[in-house]
């Protein structure tokens, strides 16, 4: 049962990202979009937590990175940047979707 988790709030605003990380099982994926993308900015306290989530694939929505002036060189390694089409593919490729609101 591969699950896609989505997080749309900044880890510095809500604890949805932390909740998501502690529930995501190996083999599942996390898509960060809207303010959620701040979790993968290099050097932030939140990005360090991602490295502990082993076996979980991390994705970030490119248009939302761009809208916030964050270049792909400013995010941590191991994160796959996708567009809205990629978002749709992630939804269909996983068995279910959990939106952490």
């Amino acid at each position: 049962m591969a699950m896609l988790h989505t997080v749309n709030k900044s880890p510095f605003e809500r604890n949805s990202f932390d909740s998501c990380l502690s529930h995501a099982k190996a083999g599942s994926s996390i898509l960060l979009f809207e303010d959620g993308i701040y979790a993968v900015v290099k050097g932030s306290s939140a990005s360090g937590k991602i490295q502990k989530a082993s076996g979980v694939s991390i994705y970030a929505l490119g248009p939302d990175l761009k809208a916030r002036g964050i270049g792909e060189d400013q995010i941590i390694g191991g994160v796959t940047v996708v567009d809205y089409g990629g978002f749709v593919d992630l939804v269909t490729r996983h068995d279910s979707v959990q939106s952490w609101l």
């Binding site: 989505t6 749309n8 979009f33 809207e34 303010d35 248009p63 939302d64 567009d83 809205y84 089409g85 978002f87 749709v88 593919d89 939804v91 269909t92 279910s96 979707v97 939106s99 609101l101």
Partner: protein
């Protein structure tokens, strides 16, 4: 694949209405079927045609109406959430003795059962919200 979408946040609040719209457009472009878009909580505010955003800004409600017209999208507004927030169609306005209705083109008011039905009849349910 059959996809249902739920929107729990009003337009111009944060970004959820825009994200849901872009997601749906991308899904349609990829040949997926959007079985229903269900608007709940403050999301029902997407369905008023009385919003007048500045001319250089996007009109989110109009975007929904146009997308619905083009692709036959079923845009459903939760009746209880809508009544609380003053979103009315002609029937609801008459029933409650209000002077007019404000539901936008392509939207219809119905119950929470429509969300459950969409969840059952779709392969995935994607939630956008606050």
């Amino acid at each position: 694949m059959k996809l249902a979408v739920m929107v729990n946040e009003g337009p111009y609040q944060h970004q959820s209405a825009d994200s849901a719209y872009q997601f749906i457009k991308a899904a349609i472009d990829k040949g997926h079927e959007i079985t229903r878009v269900f608007f709940y909580h403050d999301g029902v505010n997407n369905g008023t045609r009385y919003g007048i955003p500045p001319q250089d800004d996007r009109n989110i409600t109009q975007q929904w109406s146009e997308l619905s017209k083009k692709h036959g999208l079923d845009l459903v507004v939760c009746v209880a959430a809508a009544q609380r927030r003053g979103i009315l169609d002609a029937d609801e306005a008459r029933r409650h003795g209000k002077s007019g209705d404000n539901i936008a083109d392509g939207f219809r008011i119905s119950g929470l059962g429509q969300l459950i039905e969409a969840g059952i009849q779709s392969d995935r349910l994607v939630v956008f919200g606050d």
